[in-house]
Amino acid sequence: MNQDLLVVSGLNKTFSFKNKGVKHENHAVKDVSFAIKPGEVFGLVGESGSGKSTIANLLMNLESVDSGEITFNGVTIADSKAQNSFPYGDIQVVFQDPRSSLDPRMTIRQIIEEPLRFLSGAKKTELGNSSDVVRLIQAVGLREEHLDRRPHQFSGGQRQRVAIARALITRPKLVVLDEPTSALDISVQAQVINLLKSLQSEFGLTYLFISHNMGVVKYLCDRVGVLNQGELVELASNEDIFNRPTHPYTKKLLSSVPSMFKEMESQ
Amino acid sequence: MLRLIRARLAMLVIVLFGVSIITFLMAHVLPGDPTTALAGPHPSQETLNSIRAQFGLDKPLPAQYLSYLSDLFHGDLGTSIRSQQPVTHEMLAFFPATLELVLVAFIVAIAFGIPLGVLAAVKKNSFSDYIIRFFAVGGVSVPLFWGGLVMILIFYAKLGWLPSSGRLDIELNSPESVTGFYTIDTLIAGDKEAFINVLKHLVMPALALGYVQLAFIVRQVRSSMLDALSQDYYLTGRANGLGKRFLVVRYALRNALIPSITIIGLSFGSLLGGAVVTETVFDWPGMGKYVTDSILGRDFPAIMGFTVVIALAYVIINLLVDLLVYSLDPQTRK
């Protein structure tokens, strides 16, 4: 089954805003195309302002597409004509900042079960009402009694685990990870990365991993797209990107990363 | 700069338009409209109709509103029921007295409010901070009229230091009016004795009126100063060796003033409102007293006239505040 899970073709998004009366245009996403195969970890790398978060928003139907098309499992889910039905439940997202991604007023159980409430059609019948909240909370390394507590009683790492459990409750096919570990300490980041890898095999997930941290992308991603000011300047396998980068921007990006051992040999 | 003024003026027009609608509604639509008051006890239907016709209340609402608007435009605030005089003239006559009282109260409120607010913030949780905060919470809790009464009781009735009513002792003749401000006119006239007397008359009403706004300003300046002092640039300044006093005045205070100016602008507006009460208690012949007399006499057009004038003054003050903030805060000039 090598049919692509997600295909993005010719994606464009422009934001216009007024500043001192003058209309400014920010062409955030310029004609981006890529495809993600089932079971793959596809990385999108870029600095701030490179358009990676805008692409995530477009994928999650949070922003409207100016031109281009996004198809999921062969079905068009977003294009400029905007009356497509979005496969809620099949695509889920985990955001960067664990302090803001969980509603402080809700208990962990309510947070994790929230996505189930709005499923419709095929997805609803597929899941029925078997809510495996307990199985999921344990799968992400927390305990059942945590379910009745509120977010402020948890550390950053633990909250990110809850966010991941919430994303998996609807048994999605694709999980968009928007800088999931950037706000975490190294040791906590390692725990979350291991968790993501084990969950991928256990639930047969496909990840779109968005980050500015080259180290994490190098470790996790099978294929990597490099973004610079809204353009996809290079798209290749992990091997090629990190060992044989072709585009000058990719080279500059890689050389700027203060990696552990590269410098010390030369010292 | 011009773009901002244009935007603000457009806003001003919209708000004034809204103000006219609200005052119109209050004056002509709500149950207690003037005809019932004017017609006296259990009026016959004819008298009611004739009065309604006289005030044009029988025309359809939009037409009434248009005539109301055109009157407003020509500065005609209707005629007072009690004195049959145009409200506008009476307002103009009383306005300087109120303005003088409010300005003095405003100066008192700022002159003491800002330094006390800064002191309370810089010396947070110290003894002086608690005293200032207690003094300030007292200020926002004291009923304006009661504060005035207590002052009269102590400084007039018991100690006899200060006069309790009017702008000038009756035996002294009021100065030939140039600016309408007794303080300035007596100075122009060179009448030193009258000037002292005017000041003595001003002390209690200005303090009674100013104390409440002084408290508001202290609380606002203290909280925005605390915010400014907790910013990173203050710590950067300390780490770069800049003195505490220098940082408090040149760095923190400047940033703290921006949010405070809006509150200070608001407090000038509420001083105009408070004048209604203070002028009544101290028998101060200004617009405020004119309004309380109108309330007693059910003089509806006068009350509405006062409301429109105050709203207009308030909107202009807010425009001035915006311009001041614009000049202080570079980010608004982006």
Binding site: Q189, P258, M260 | Q231, T236, Q331
Partner: protein, 326 residues
């Protein structure tokens, strides 16, 4: 070894948070010689920023109590010196660069004016000379067209530019020690590389001692010659960067290095640290890392002391101590 600019000995301090004293640092040791760039690495809650602020006495006095130790700066103990004498050092002898360039500068004052104030404070230059020095300081931190930037406000500059201005301020009086607390964490990778190179160059040119604080081992490896690793307010390991990061001795440092994805093989799973961050309201007896340490054994109930393994590499761990010669 050349004369020490900074010599922190057995520094312990605690904060009074909602009534209960919380022990933040316990017997911290740190030495920096002139011209040396020393890294201080640790995760959140390790006390690395508190150590930095303690050096120039910028900690909030009402809630801070120094329970032991001393901080010698050019031979003068900061802890016992008067506020005036320490105030003389700030900005003149000790420069500071903070993490958040977005908020480090006064938003309602031009860049030039803020630099002008710092320069005038630490020199007896006339107004004109100080104004000229402002432009020179901006040029030294490689800001193009300083005559324009001088009259701009902080919100008109990018994060990287603002951090350069903060560095220019910190270095304007040619301090003996520059403390950079996570100077590039909020910046993009490419901008981070430029700022780190700038700090390294300035330190070499002026012979300034630099204390670089970071949670990113890559940044430390790339910029510093020596490093000290902090865990929950205690020094667990210190030494040359190549020794400490290439052959870490303390289990915590080992775990940190192994949990880094950049160098881990793709297939393998990353090493993680079990357990939770300790509750510093009652600092446990014995080794602070013991509850989470795979090499724990009975001796660990006794607080370990920083032991020299070779002339420049020390570690606070009994498992290591018994193996080495000392």
């Amino acid at each position: 070894m050349s004369e020490l600019v900074l010599d922190i000995k057995d520094l312990s301090l605690s904060f009074l948070t909602s009534g209960t004293p919380v022990s933040i640092l316990k017997s911290v040791e740190l030495q920096i010689a002139a011209g040396e760039i020393v890294g201080l690495v640790g995760e959140s809650g390790s006390g690395k920023s508190v150590t930095a602020l303690a050096i120039s006495k910028l900690l909030p006095t009402q809630i801070t109590t120094f329970s032991s130790g001393s901080i010698y700066f050019n031979g003068m103990d900061i802890l016992t010196s008067s506020e005036e004498s320490v105030a003389q050092l700030r900005g003149k002898k000790i420069g500071f660069v903070f993490q958040e360039p977005m908020t480090a500068l006064n938003p309602t004052m031009t860049i030039g004016k803020q630099l002008f104030h710092v320069i005038r404070r630490h020199s007896d230059l006339s107004k004109e000379q100080a104004q000229a020095k402002v432009r020179a300081a901006l040029e030294e931190v490689l800001i193009a067209k300083p005559e324009i930037v001088e009259n701009q406000y902080p919100f008109q500059l990018s994060g990287g530019m603002r951090q350069r201005v903060v560095i220019a301020m910190a270095m304007s009086a040619n301090p003996a020690l520059l403390i950079a607390d996570e100077p590039t964490t909020a910046l993009d990778v490419t901008v981070q590389a430029e700022i780190l190179n700038l700090i390294g160059k300035l330190a070499k040119v002026h012979g300034t001692a630099v204390l670089l604080i970071s949670h990113d081992l890559g940044v430390i490896a790339n910029t510093c010659s020596k490093v000290t690793v902090l865990y929950a307010g205690e020094v667990v390991e210190t030494g040359k960067v190549s020794d400490v990061l290439r052959t870490p001795l303390h289990p915590y440092t080992q775990a940190l290095v192994k949990s880094l994805p950049d160098i881990a093989a793709r297939g393998s799973s990353l090493e993680t640290i079990a357990g939770e961050f300790p509750d510093l309201r009652k600092r446990p007896e014995g080794c602070i890392y013991a509850p989470r340490c795979p090499k724990k054994f009975d001796k660990c109930s006794e607080s370990p002391v920083l032991m020299k393994v070779d002339n420049e590499h020390s570690v606070a761990c009994w498992a290591q101590g018994s193996r080495s010669s000392s």
